[in-house]
Amino acid sequence: MWLVATVVFILYFVTPHDPARLIAGKDATAQMLADVRIRLGLDQPIIQQYFSYLGRLLQGNLGYSYFNSEPVSTIIGEDLPVTASLAVGGAVLWLVIGVLAGVLAATKPRSIADRTVTGLALFFYSMPTFLLGELFLLLLFFRLHLLGFDFFPGSGYVGLTQSVGGWFQHMILPWFTLALVTGAVYARLTRGSMLDVLGEDYVRTARAKGLSERRVVYRHALRAAITPVTTQFGIDLGTLLGGVIVTETVYGLPGLGQEIYNSISRQDLPVIIALVLLASAFVVTANIVVDAVYALLDPRVRLT
């Protein structure tokens, strides 16, 4: 995390640009520029800026936006609910779709269901997230809107606290956009690993005991088959963040993904660093959780 913060900081300063000029505007006088620099601490040597930033960071002070002087924590607080709704909902949906489709395909190999799942998985896997989003907008929002059916709103966000129904309606297209593309990978993964596990002796034993097929598949086989899926999920968290940025852009959702994109074009260093840090913190924490789940699912894995 510290490494990430430092890398971003260095990256920011090795490149030629002047945030003070950006903030003060085009017509700023030299005096105004100097004032802005002093206010932001940009007149001090870079090393000193770096250490004072690091010091504040350790105290939990993320700093203030160069752009509108809002505390970075306020900005994050405003955007987080949007991104969290999108990311969590999308991730749950992608796991459910992926795993269920994979199980369905694996339990009846070479059947029509299997072929459909495999074909669709390849289709969605080849689909870039933003393209799926645009096609959804075109077909499910706009075409249906023309037909007088307005179930799917085209953009915007409604807070969960304001209206549960509105929140759900606004999130459903973004969720599916995020989930279908990645879910396709999971369908393939689950199918492959399920096929392996279903050939194991203990699955035959479970069947021989007279357990119902449902119990054999979901209790005995899936539990073992899902471990590679869990591993992949840990790896894909970075992808999830990327998907969130793209999805928020397509649907105009005012979340952290949009924020990072805007703050980078405004060269708003405190916001950039805070968001990149947040992203890495999320990936690291989520990976720890995934490892814990891994141990829970597979008794052979021990947490050390």
């Binding site: 080849s126 870039p128 075109l138 993964l189 492959g192 940025i245 397509v250």
Partner: protein, 325 residues
């Protein structure tokens, strides 16, 4: 050829499926490469995808020819013929086969030129990632110890990075410079890790094999063992990974362009076309649909071909996405 051999030849089934190695060796020695190619040639999906890829590559190469035939340059704006008097782009018609965009440019011509960037970035970035990843993976697997640990950590870090965030940061840091070069390096940097892991795993098992021991007892040096004895055995895996990486790289490039990173506006690029199209989908469906179709057809064809190549090299192996710890 003896009578016995001829009988054998007649009875030998088509070299397909897991039994292929045995039947092939009964006729004459055919290398695994020839076998794989044979299987590919009989795979209808593979042939069809290859045809699609060749078609798209053809469009890319002959983009100026397409432009000359329809008489529209890639960046030329036709405000009179391409836009309605209200300034709305016109749809597919005789003059604009796939419609026009918001500046009255020909979408068909721009798709052809856009194919150049997609294919170039896809192939070059995947090539770099695969080469670099294979070399690093081999070093890690063969050297072991410190090299291995260092590389494994490095790869963990790279794979855990929120790559799009870093791509955006790098793009701004460079002040919007870099273009395709930035695309290629970012994609290669974030893709080599997976290749390195796969190759490392392979090398770890190969280096314990008897023939490596034999080579060493004959006095072969480290370099010779790595490049003469190990490389040919991991090459198939690497090629399979390459074919599957190309579509991923194309999607990656399009996503970057969609966010405005890499290629800059007047350059025709599928990602940036689709990004513009987002503002016009309500009046110009063709602006979304045709560049989208081109992109989807390309990635789908590469993915299908990649699957087939994998099956051809090892008919039993069908789980490339399974990563075991």
């Amino acid at each position: 050829m003896s009578v016995y051999d001829e009988m054998l030849v007649d009875n030998v089934p088509e070299p397909e499926g897991p039994g292929a190695d045995f039947s092939a060796s009964a006729i004459k020695a055919r290398s695994p490469w020839q076998l794989a190619f044979e299987r590919l040639r009989h795979d209808r999906v593979a042939v069809a995808s290859a045809v699609v890829i060749v078609l798209i590559a053809g469009l890319a190469v002959f983009a100026p020819v397409v432009a000359a035939i329809v008489g529209h340059g890639p960046d030329t704006q036709f405000h009179l013929t391409g836009l309605t008097p209200e300034g709305i782009p016109i749809g597919p018609s005789k003059h604009f086969l796939l419609g026009a965009d918001e500046l009255g440019r020909d979408i068909l011509v721009r798709i052809c030129y856009g194919a150049r960037i997609s294919l170039l970035v896809g192939v070059v970035a995947s090539g770099l990632a695969v080469t670099g990843g294979a070399i690093l993976g081999m070093l890690a697997g063969y050297m072991g110890r410190l090299v291995d640990t260092t590389l494994a950590r490095l790869i963990d870090v790279v794979l855990a990075m929120p790559y799009l965030v870093f791509a955006i940061a790098l793009w701004t840091a460079l002040g919007g410079q870099g273009g395709i070069l930035l695309d290629v390096s970012v994609i290669a940097f974030f893709s080599f890790g997976a290749v390195a892991r796969i190759v490392r795993g392979q090398v770890l098992s190969i280096k314990e094999k008897e023939y490596i021991e034999a080579a060493r007892s004959l006095g072969a040096g480290t370099l010779r063992i790595m490049f003469v004895d190990i490389v040919p055995n991991v090459l198939a895996q690497v090629i399979v990974y390459f074919t599957l990486l190309v579509p991923a790289a194309i999607v990656f490039e399009a996503t970057l362009a969609f966010l405005g990173i890499g290629t800059t506006p007047p350059t025709p690029d599928w990602g940036s076309m689709l990004s513009e199209a987002l503002n016009y989908y309500e009046v110009a469906w063709w602006y979304v649909v045709f560049p989208g179709l081109a992109l989807l057809a390309t990635t789908l064809a590469f993915n299908l071909l990649g699957d087939s190549v994998r099956d051809a090299f090892d008919p039993r192996y069908s789980r490339i996405f399974t990563k075991e710890k």
